[in-house]
Symmetry: C2
Subunit: 261 residues, 2 copies
């Protein structure tokens, strides 16, 4: 722990990712030196967890940290990087879809530290189980990031920028789009006075099954059986619900098509 | 237990639902009297669990059971029901999408016992947590089914045929279609040499989050933020993958549209 305590980290950004990462790294013994955020309120709250300082003015960034984490939205990463006027700091972004090279013209030491999880301020997650994808421009920087990652998680992966883009895209399907399916299910139940509660065990088991056996082997339902009689009943039931109908039709077609191959 | 042991059950069908239900009811103390199935092999294996008899000939069905469970596919429920030549047995089907009235012309005592879960022979599920939706044509039959359901699960719901059809449709979204999203994620990862392993914690957390807070509140990602720059990058990345591209486009549009409302 003494080794980690000597290492100092500055966080630029005070949103969900910055909050979860800074807390985990603080707990692992790293010293959170400063929080920099456009939002004074967010910066103050986050810095308060560590009794550390904060600023809304990036020109007041403290120069002698070991790591500078840019936890800002994708579109702002480059803009923020170019405002950091320091001498080749280890600049790290945490985005799934931004290439490491975006940082290269602003420092000779750059890396990516991408935790693959859906963070929200209202729900705790077990950070030890979160896969962390790392990439760096030199083997020395890579080792520094690896040490950092290993201090908070047991699942570390070396993933390059191209792979990470596809991983991020896969996460849109695995998280955003599957969540839309759960939302549609919730809508259909509420429209017919059936408590959403009822379908929760199915949602949990679906995820459990897809991660235990492969999702391609876990596929069930009328589409994979090409059960046209049930499919037609469902289409009829959705005739006053054109938005949901359109989703039903397309995804049923895609499952039937996959199954034919 | 002695009370349950006096009650005798015949199962028609020996697939996933019959297997899970008969085992659970046997464990709860009911007497599995007979397994009837077109597949001699399946019937023999299932009956073997209870040291009970089996037949492939429905005309040899034993007449004095308390419950007759029709665990056959939706299209066969009525055909099988009309082959059961007994004196008003308590005929029960286990389907989400078939109306209770389908059974009415074959007996004066009919019911539905629909366990809302995805069953597979290869993966154990905790039946105590599975919601069981029941419906019957008389209050006496309803109470008999309720007692049966309560002996194996803690989650019993009275659901009528119309609600059950929509529940089944909602389950197609919550299970079949969300599983397709996980399959697409798996495809994208394998195409870029990223282990599927990496995305498993995200899948599990997605389900956990949707069932803890509401899925409509859990929605994240480029579509809900209307982040056109990331969306356009994703469309470009999928340009050689027209099947997946089509899904991405439609579901992104639907999330954007929902969010505008």
């Amino acid at each position: 722990m003494i080794k980690n305590k000597l290492k100092k980290i500055v966080f630029i950004g005070a949103g969900n990712v910055a909050t979860h990462l800074s807390k985990a790294l603080h707990n692992a013994g790293f010293y959170i030196l400063q929080i920099v955020s456009r939002s004074e309120n967010f910066a103050k709250i986050l810095a308060g967890n560590f009794n550390t300082c904060y600023t809304t003015d990036i020109s007041k960034i403290i120069p002698d940290a070991d790591f500078y984490f840019l936890c800002v939205n994708d579109a702002s990463i480059e803009t923020v990087a170019q405002q950091i006027k320091l001498n080749n700091p280890l600049l790290i972004h945490t985005s799934g879809s931004v290439d490491i090279n975006v940082l290269s013209q602003y420092s000779e030491n750059v890396g990516v530290f991408y935790p693959l999880q859906t963070f929200s301020k209202t729900k705790e997650v077990n950070i030890k189980e979160i896969p962390i994808c790392i990439e760096a421009n030199t083997s020395q920087n890579f080792l520094a990031l690896k040490e950092l990652a290993e201090s908070i998680s047991t699942r570390i992966y070396e993933i390059n920028s191209l792979q990470r883009r596809y991983l991020h895209l896969a996460a849109v399907f695995a998280n955003n789009f599957s969540n839309l399916m759960f939302t549609v299910a919730e809508d259909l139940l509420l429209q017919h006075n059936v408590p959403f509660e009822l379908i929760k065990p199915l949602i949990l088991e679906t995820a459990s099954k897809a991660t235990t056996i492969s999702p391609s082997l876990a596929q069930t339902g009328p589409a994979v059986r090409n059960d046209q009689s049930t499919i037609n009943k469902h289409l009829e039931m959705l005739k006053d619900n054109p938005q949901i109908l359109e989703i039903y039709k397309l995804l049923t077609d895609k499952i039937i098509l996959r199954n034919k191959k």
